[in-house]
C-alpha cells in the first residue's frame, strides 16, 4: 500500500492490519518517552488547504513521535493564494522529494489528483464530503478497544450525514467489518440512495439509537443553516440532539463518540458529552496511535 486515499478500496485484512499495528503504537504513547526512531530521515509535508486543528495536530504529533521531519503548509500565505494552481504547487513540493504528504482539501477527489501527479505517498486527511479515512480508522480502533470486537455491533450515526466525510469513511469501514450501521438525521441531511452503501436509514433518531453499541454524533455545521438545511439551531437541538433521554434507548454499555469539533447543546448535550459513556477524548488519543500506524505501514517498510 502506497497511499491512503480512502477506506473505500481497503479490505478487511488491511483494516485489521492497521488496527493491530496501532495497538503497539498505543503502547508507545503510554510511555514516559513517546518518541521512536522509526521514520528518522523521512520528510513529511502536512498540507491543510482547509482549517483543521485536531487532525493537523494529531498528524504532526504522530509524525514527530516517529522521528520524521515534518513541514506544515497552510493555504493562506502559500503560492496558491497568489494564484498558483494546486498541480503546480504539488509539482514544486514533489521536487523537494518528500516521502509523504498529508492532504486536507475542500474538494472531493483532490488526494487522488495529487497521487496521480506526485511520487510520494499521499494520505487523505479529509476531502470534501467524500472520505476521512484516518478518522474512521481511529473511530474503529476506539470501538474495538472498548468492545473487544467490531463484527455484529450495532452502530448509530446521527446528524448531518450529507456533508460528512467522517460518516462516509465510517460507513465503508464499519460495514466492511460486519457492523450493523444505522443512520438518522433531518431529511435534508440524508444523501440520496445512501442505503445502497449498506446502511439502514431511520427517520427518528430514537429508532437508530435503539440497541446501539455505539452512538456516533456528527457535527452540525452552523454556517449551513442559511442553506435551507434546518430552520434554526433551537429546532435542530429539539429533535436531533443526543440527550441523556435519547441515549437511554441505546445499550447500557453503549459508548458515545464525536469526531469534533462538537456544538454543545446542538447535536450533543453537555451531560452526554462529559458523561462516563463519552469516549470523545479517547478518540483523540487514539488518533495519534492510528496515524502512527498508518505512517509506519506506508513509509516504514520501504527500506527493509
Amino acid at each position: 500500500m502506497k497511499h491512503l486515499l480512502g477506506i473505500e478500496n481497503l479490505n478487511r485484512d488491511q483494516i485489521m492490519n492497521i488496527l493491530e499495528t496501532a495497538v503497539s503504537f498505543d503502547e508507545i504513547n503510554q510511555r514516559q518517552i513517546k518518541k521512536v526512531p522509526t521514520l528518522k530521515g523521512k520528510t513529511i509535508i502536512n498540507f491543510f488547504a482547509e482549517p483543521s486543528t485536531r487532525t493537523r495536530m494529531s498528524f504532526e504529533v504522530a509524525e514527530k513521535r516517529l522521528s520524521a521531519d515534518t513541514y506544515n503548509i497552510a493555504v493562506s500565505g502559500s503560492a496558491i493564494e497568489k494564484g498558483e494552481t494546486l498541480s503546480d504547487t504539488a509539482l514544486n513540493l514533489q521536487a523537494m522529494q518528500p516521502d509523504a504528504m498529508i492532504i486536507r482539501h475542500s474538494v472531493a477527489g483532490t488526494p487522488q489528483l495529487l497521487a496521480e501527479i506526485m511520487d510520494c505517498s499521499i494520505i487523505n486527511a479529509g476531502d470534501g464530503f467524500r472520505e476521512h479515512p484516518t478518522q474512521a480508522l481511529l473511530d474503529a480502533f476506539t470501538i474495538w478497544q472498548k468492545k473487544g470486537k467490531l463484527e455484529g455491533l450495532r452502530i448509530a450515526l446521527l446528524g448531518d450525514i450529507y456533508h460528512s466525510r467522517v460518516a462516509r469513511s465510517n460507513i465503508y469501514l464499519l460495514t466492511k467489518m460486519g457492523c450493523d450501521v444505522v443512520i438518522s438525521g433531518p431529511g435534508t441531511m440524508i444523501p440520496k440512495e445512501i442505503e445502497k452503501m449498506g446502511v439502514t436509514v431511520e427517520k427518528r433518531p430514537v429508532d437508530a439509537v435503539k440497541g446501539a453499541d455505539a452512538v456516533m454524533m456528527l457535527r452540525v455545521q452552523n454556517e449551513r443553516a442559511s442553506n435551507l438545511l434546518y430552520p434554526d439551531v433551537r429546532e435542530y437541538a429539539k429533535f436531533f440532539c443526543l440527550t441523556p433521554e435519547l441515549l437511554k434507548y441505546a445499550k447500557n454499555d453503549a459508548i458515545v463518540m464525536h469526531p469534533g469539533p462538537a456544538n454543545r447543546g446542538v447535536e450533543i448535550d453537555d451531560v452526554v458529552m462529559d458523561g462516563e459513556r463519552s469516549v470523545v477524548l479517547t478518540q483523540v488519543a487514539n488518533g495519534v496511535s492510528v496515524r502512527m500506524a498508518v505512517l509506519y505501514l506506508l513509509l516504514g517498510g520501504s527500506e527493509k
Binding site: T85, L86, S87, V107, A108, G109, L113, K192, E193
Partner: protein, 424 residues
C-alpha cells in the same frame, strides 16, 4: 470538377432510401444519383463498404470565438467538425462579447467564410448579455444571419422574459432553444444527484431541476402555440415530460448528446474533470431510457454540445473545473456503439445526425438532384482508439480518451469540396 462517389450504400432518411448506388457531384451540387455514372474526367471516390449520407449537422457547439480563442477558434472548430463528419454547425452565443449584437454575428460568419468550408449558423443570445433581463435585438440578429436564439449555458429564469422571447422571436421566425435548468436546485452541484454523488461526496444536481424547466418551457410553447427546442436532454424524467407534450401536439423538438447515451455518473469516480458536464452524466436508468427515446423518435436529434476548455482549466480540483467536454470528433463512433449493440439502425443513426436541419430551418439533410453536395461518407467497422492528442480541436477535454471504437468518418464533403478525408 466532377466527382463520383461509387460503390457505397446511400442512406438517405429524408427519402426513406437505403441502396447501393453512385452519386455524381458537379459544381458543388448533386447532379445525379445513378447506378451507372459516366466516369469520364471525374474524380472517383471508391466508397466500397461505406455509408454515403447527407452531410451531418451539429446544432449545438461552442466555438469560443470571439473571446476565448485559447480554447477553440472558429477555424479549428470547423476543422474538428469536418473531421467528425459534420458539414454544418450551429454555434452557441456565450462568446465574449456575447453574440447579442449584429457585429458579433457578422464577425462569426466572416471568420467562417475564411475557414474550411463547413457551414456555420450562429445561434444568437435570447436576452441581452445572456443576463436574463431584457430582450436581445432578435430582429436585427436575424438580419445579421443568426438562425435561432438561446441563452445556452444558462436558463431563462424569469418566466415572463421566456414568454417575451418566444412571442417576440416569433415575429422573425426565431425559435427559442431551451437550456433547461433550475439554478436553485443546481447550486453548487458538481455531478448528478444520486448514489454516486453520495459516495463521491459531491453536491448533486437533481434530474428534477432539468425536467421541471422543460415542462415549463413546453407549457409556454403550448400556451403560445409556438415551437421550442430542448437542448441536451439528459434524463428519463425529461423524456417523460417531452413525451407528454409531443403527444398533445405541442411543437417541441429535442436533442441529446452522445455522452448521455454511453456514459453514466459512475464515470465521475476517477475524479477526471472531463466527466464534469452540465447537464451532468446521469444514472444507468436514465441512459437506457434515453437510448429508447432516440430509438423511438421521441428525441429528434443528436448534438454534441462541443464545449472546449483548455487543459490548464480542466487539470484542477474537480469543483474548480469548468463544465463541458468536446464531442465533434468522437460523436459518430460513440453513437455507432448503439448501432453495433443493436439499439439503432444505420438509417436512424443518419437521421439523428441530420434531423437538425429541419429543427433549425436550415437547408440540407437530403441527397437529391440539385441539392448542395454536402455529403458524409463513413464506415461502421473501422477500429481505432480515441487519442485526445490527435484532435483537430484546440482542446482535448474528452471523457473518451483511450476508448476503442468501431466506425469512423471516411470523408466529409461540403458543396462538392472535400473538407476532410481519412485516406484520399
Amino acid at each position: 470538377m466532377k466527382m463520383i462517389i461509387k460503390n457505397g450504400t446511400l442512406v438517405n432518411p429524408a427519402k426513406k432510401e437505403k441502396k447501393k448506388t453512385a452519386i455524381v457531384i458537379e459544381n458543388g451540387l448533386i447532379t445525379d444519383i445513378t447506378d451507372n455514372p459516366d466516369e469520364t474526367g471525374a474524380k472517383v471516390v471508391n466508397a466500397d463498404g461505406m455509408i454515403v449520407a447527407p452531410g451531418f449537422i451539429d446544432i449545438h457547439v461552442h466555438f469560443r470565438d470571439p473571446g476565448y480563442e485559447h480554447k477553440e477558434d472558429i477555424h479549428t472548430g470547423l476543422m474538428a467538425a469536418a473531421a467528425g463528419g459534420f458539414t454544418s454547425v450551429c454555434t452557441m452565443p456565450n462568446t465574449n462579447p456575447v453574440a447579442d449584437n449584429i457585429e458579433t454575428i457578422r464577425y462569426m460568419l466572416e471568420r467562417a467564410t475564411g475557414g474550411n468550408g463547413v457551414k456555420l449558423y450562429p445561434v444568437a443570445a435570447a436576452s441581452k448579455g445572456l443576463k436574463g433581463e431584457g430582450l436581445a435585438p432578435i430582429g436585427e440578429l436575424k438580419e445579421g444571419g443568426a438562425i435561432a436564439v438561446s441563452d445556452d449555458g444558462k436558463p431563462i429564469k424569469n418566466t415572463d422574459l421566456l414568454k417575451r422571447v418566444m412571442e417576440y422571436g416569433s415575429s422573425f421566425d426565431m425559435k427559442y432553444i431551451s437550456h433547461s435548468e433550475d439554478t436553485y436546485l443546481a447550486e453548487g452541484g458538481q455531478m448528478n444527484e444520486g448514489f454516486y454523488s453520495t459516495i463521491y461526496g459531491m453536491t448533486g444536481i437533481p434530474v428534477v431541476g432539468e425536467a421541471s424547466q422543460i415542462a415549463r418551457d413546453c407549457m409556454m410553447a403550448e400556451y403560445l402555440d409556438l415551437p421550442v427546442h430542448i437542448a441536451h436532454v439528459s434524463c428519463a424524467m425529461s423524456v417523460d415530460v417531452i413525451r407528454h407534450y409531443k403527444k398533445k401536439g405541442v411543437k417541441v423538438t429535442a436533442e441529446t448528446a452522445p455522452h448521455y447515451l454511453t456514459l453514466t455518473d459512475q464515470a465521475v469516480g476517477g475524479f477526471d474533470t472531463n466527466t464534469k458536464i452540465n447537464p451532468p452524466l446521469r444514472s444507468e436508468n436514465d441512459r437506457l431510457v434515453l437510448i429508447e427515446a432516440v430509438k423511438s423518435g421521441l428525441i429528434d436529434a443528436i448534438a454534441t454540445d462541443h464545449a472546449p476548455h483548455h487543459q490548464r482549466e480542466k487539470e484542477v480540483e474537480f469543483n474548480n473545473a469548468p463544465f463541458g467536454i468536446i464531442g465533434l470528433e468522437t460523436a459518430l463512433p460513440i453513437v455507432l456503439k448503439l448501432y453495433h449493440e443493436g439499439h439503432l439502425t444505420i438509417e436512424r443513426v443518419v437521421e439523428l445526425f441530420t434531423a437538425g436541419y429541419s429543427i433549425m430551418g436550415v437547408k440540407g439533410g437530403v441527397i437529391e438532384k440539385g441539392a448542395p453536395a454536402d455529403v458524409t461518407i463513413f464506415d461502421t467497422d473501422y477500429q481505432w482508439t480515441v487519442d485526445k492528442n490527435m484532435f483537430c480541436s484546440k482542446s482535448s477535454n474528452t471523457p473518451f480518451h483511450g476508448f476503442h471504437v468501431k466506425g469512423s468518418v471516411f470523408a466529409t464533403i461540403v458543396d462538392g469540396k472535400v473538407v476532410y478525408s481519412r485516406e484520399f
